[in-house]
Amino acid sequence: MLAYLFKRLISALLVALTVSAITFSMTFLTGDPAITLGGETATQEDLATIREFYGYDKPIPVQFFNWLGNAVQGDLGHSHYLNQPVATEIFTRLPTTMTLGFCALLFALVLAIPLGVVAAIRPNSLLDRIALGVAVVGQAMPSFWFALTMMLWFSINWGILPVSGTDTWAHFVMPSIALGYYITPGVMRLTRAGMLEVLQSDYIRTARAKGVSRFSLLFKHALRNAIIPVVSLAAVQFGFMLGGSIVIETIFAINGLGFLAWESIQRADLPMMQAIVLILSLFYIMLTYFADAMNAWLDPRIRVA
């Protein structure tokens, strides 16, 4: 187990290093970053000052390791626009996005797992078909359009929910649904497949034979095993949702990391963009690492392979 965890950790660190290199290289996408910063009217002396101040005059590998060294120590750079450390702003915004992501995940799981279980009890029944229909429709709906449509009905026509902002829990309802519904099809299908497989196993037949109640059989005996792959899918999808929340946060004016990313893109605030991409990627790497570790712990077969 420890050997497996160690091997996985090394590869996760390598991925993190590569991701940081890619993120860092965004600086040079526009050509000379000094010219981007100084603008067209900058003189040669201005450019030289900018290069010296930001360290663009050093060789690129040196710049990269300086950047990386600072990032490891928690200094993610300096925002050109806000004129303050990037990290401060990111960590004030992060909790909002985490809350949103968590609510979205909760919504998705609460909807998808029971649907998957129900669909598996009677494959090809009407309920199974309805669940499949929900999945197919869910995957085809553009999230931003779904968000706007919900806003139109729930906030404007019926006046039940607030349009935008983050003041109360009610503000999080629509954004969580808009962000979470997209992953319900995947979770539902996986729960269904897992349940179908488990329900045919010997221990379920034994449990049935000894007279375990139907509810206990499904939810205590079967679901507990069928859910293992769902847990790691949920972890991975949580990472995807944080990355994808930019669209939803922009629509609902939620002051989180996604909205910050959007603002930074509008302001051409490159250090902030890079820091957000890096943070979200690292978070995803961490999530997949823990998901793998948990899987290995739950299923000993994985450790050996």
Binding site: S11, L14, V15, A16, T18, V19, I22, M26, L29, T30, V136, V137, Q139, A140, M141, P142, S143, F144, W145, L148, T149, L152, I156, R189, A193, G239, F240, L242, G243, G244, I246, V247, T250, G258, A261, W262, I265, A268, L270, M273, I276, V277, L280, S281, Y284, I285, T288
Partner: protein, 297 residues
């Protein structure tokens, strides 16, 4: 004699697939809508009732014909937008742009992903290690955010959007091709081709590729839907297709400020987008069912 009759009545695999396809409702429905939208996109100049770019400010925000409004007219079946452009014509030209971006981005990502996946699956060992590493790295970067950042840095144009999407969404191709190739690789005909002394490129192109082609087609349809959705999201955020070119995502973005008064402005392009994605997904799922029934899930 009986053997001869037996072979002539049994259907060839290809005929059997066709027969299954004709019975698959999802595939037929999806296929029908996709073909219709593709035809509409191709013949856009003949089908669009108006010039989708022409602004007639005196005729702005006419509601669709089914609205009980004195302004509604058959001249603009789906009404006009905030600049007085015919909504139906823009919708028709928008299909062109969506499909073109989706198809081109899918093609690029397909070439990248298939090459990587087949190499990883066929060669295994260190090659597989490196390519799997690349896939993991790609998966850990948030697609929408990276696409937005790169497009904003480089400057938005059709080519940039296509290239950025193409270079970002090859992961599913690579993952599926890798495992499909791994399965094919261990079959006897690969071993015999190797024993015959076939060159590696020949084995890859003549023996491996045709046997994983059905997976490629399935992933290609699903990834095209993915690319179209991403393009719409980018355009919606103002960093995809640039005005005055019509894109469904852009139409929704333009209508955002007016949607509380004229909800149909976002309902129409949204429904079009939803229908197209739904149809492509149904087609992809159907193709998967028909070509590889064991992969259903």
């Amino acid at each position: 004699m009986s053997e001869v009759t037996a072979t002539s009545t049994a259907l060839s695999p290809r005929r059997m697939m066709l027969k299954q396809a004709l019975r698959h409702r999802g595939l037929l429905f999806g296929g029908f809508i996709v073909v219709t939208i593709v035809l509409i996109a191709i013949f856009a100049p003949f089908l669009a009732p108006h010039d989708g770019y022409e602004q007639v400010l005196s005729r702005k925000l006419i509601p669709p014909v089914w609205f009980d409004s004195p302004k509604a007219t058959w001249d603009h079946i789906l009404g006009t937008d905030h600049l007085g452009r015919d909504y139906l014509s823009r919708l028709i030209y928008g299909a062109r742009i969506s499909l073109m971006i989706g198809f081109s981005a899918m093609l690029i990502s397909g070439v990248i992903g298939t090459t990587l996946g087949v190499c990883a699956g066929y060669f295994g060992g260190k090659v597989d290690l490196v390519i799997s590493f690349l896939i993991t790295t790609r998966l850990s970067m948030p697609v929408v955010l990276v696409a937005l950042a790169v497009v904003s840095l480089v400057g938005s144009s059709l080519t940039v959007v296509i290239l950025v999407l193409g270079f970002l969404i090859w992961d599913r191709f690579a993952v599926v091709m890798r495992s499909a190739t791994q399965q094919v690789r261990n079959l006897d005909f690969i071993a015999s081709a190797e024993a015959l002394g076939s060159s590696t490129p020949r084995i890859l192109f003549v023996e491996v590729l045709p046997n994983v082609a059905n997976h490629i087609i399935v992933i290609a349809t699903l990834e095209m839907a993915h690319a179209i959705l991403l393009e719409a999201a980018l355009s919606f955020l103002g960093l995809g297709v640039q005005p005055p070119d019509p894109s469904w995502g852009l139409m929704i973005a333009d209508a955002k400020g007016l949607m509380f008064f004229d909800g149909w402005l976002i309902a129409i392009p949204g429904t079009a987008l939803f229908l197209l994605i739904l149809a492509i997904n149904l087609l992809g799922d159907g193709l998967r069912d028909v070509t590889a029934p064991e992969n259903r899930g």
